[in-house]
């Protein structure tokens, strides 16, 4: 039985990378089939296979780390770099949509009535539900930090309480945003105002759902004793992602909701 003379993780052969790529193919071609031929089957297969691959790939990572002990400090460092780079790439993704918003809103064309918000658009009151949503995400930033400190101090009950509160706040935000979307007096097809508003807040909302799901998985792992006071990187990654989602919302709120109204 050979033993490695380094602290890196040489993973077992795995089918998930290539099956994940195939799932991406099915999802994208499925979108095309749905848009142009009104057939949703390929898209459904794509989304289902994507979910299955994600579930099994991340399940395997939990097995490799918590159950097999492969996540040495060296490996953890690599994962930290990876998460930082990923979040940075997401920041650039949102930067693009903010660029589009400022491009159209700083110099509104005659077609919009030479003003922002454009003629005929009733923007949402920033002091109404959007302000509540801001408070919710800020509070969830506090609770996730509380949970982190509880984990580091080996306080199981408080960690579970704090992380549960965080997840509930995340779902509360999503529910309120869904209601706002339903009740809004303008839609995505209402000119460039509608486009910039719904694409920016829409992608943000998707990231809130992703972040809430990540935190929920961490909560389940926390309950199952996977985290130790010194080694809980999965939780830290989820917390970083969650703070990122919060910061993006603050930018959205100040620029699109407040300045743009």
């Amino acid at each position: 039985m050979t033993h490695q003379a380094h602290s890196y993780h040489m993973v077992d052969p795995s089918p998930w990378p290539i099956l994940g790529a195939a799932a991406a193919l099915l999802t994208t071609s499925g979108l095309a089939m749905w848009f142009h031929y009104n057939s949703p089957y390929l898209l459904i297969m794509g989304l289902l296979s994507t979910a299955l691959v994600m579930l099994q790939w991340w399940r395997d990572i939990v097995r490799e780390s918590t159950f097999q002990g492969h996540h040495t400090p060296t490996v953890q460092k690599g994962l930290r770099y990876g998460m930082v780079l990923f979040i940075t790439s997401e920041a650039f993704f949102f930067l693009g949509f903010f660029w589009a918003f400022f491009h159209s809103s700083l110099a509104p064309t005659p077609e919009l009535g030479g003003q922002w918000p454009p003629t005929g658009i009733q923007p949402l009151d920033p002091m109404d539900v959007p302000l509540l949503n801001t408070a919710i995400l800020l509070a969830s930033g506090v609770t996730v930090t509380w949970a982190h400190h509880s984990i580091m101090e080996a306080n199981r009950k408080q960690a579970i309480h704090a992380l549960t509160l965080t997840v509930l706040l995340g779902f509360y935000f999503t529910a309120l945003q869904a209601m706002e979307y339903y009740e809004a007096p303008f839609s995505i097809s209402d000119g460039v105002y509608g486009s910039t508003f719904f694409v920016s807040t829409g992608f943000h909302g998707l990231h809130v759902i992703i972040g809430s799901t990540f935190l929920l998985v961490c909560l389940l792992r926390l309950i199952k004793y996977h985290f130790t006071p010194n080694h809980h990187f999965g939780f830290e990654a989820a917390a970083w992602y969650w703070h990122f989602v919060d910061v993006v919302w603050l930018f959205l709120y100040v620029t699109i909701y407040w300045w743009g109204s």
Binding site: L19, M33, M45, Q56, D60, F67, Q68
Partner: protein
């Protein structure tokens, strides 16, 4: 001095130490389930030569086969659909 205590100075029969010791009380032992990580560590460190994605036994195999079937089947469907979609529309 000289005052007789009205209350007996002898303490009554002890009531402390008669309840169950903490280790017997279930509430303090485990909050939301007990720690099964050591057992799972034993399972996933067995030298059975299985890769990590199949090391959990039958449920892993079922999930893997379902994912494989869906993905391979879907890819074939995708290629057929793209072939059909690339045919010119005959007026």
């Amino acid at each position: 001095q000289g005052l007789k205590p009205l209350v007996p100075t002898e303490s009554p029969a002890p009531i402390f130490g008669t309840s169950k010791p903490p280790s017997v009380l279930p509430a303090t032992e485990a909050f939301l389930g007990k720690n099964k990580v050591p057992d799972l560590q034993k399972v996933f460190q067995r030298s059975d030569g299985l890769p990590v994605h199949l090391k959990g036994g039958v449920p892993d195999r079922m999930l893997y086969r379902t994912t494989m079937a869906l993905t391979i089947g879907g890819t074939i469907y995708c290629l057929v659909a793209l072939y059909i979609a690339s045919q010119p529309k005959n007026k």
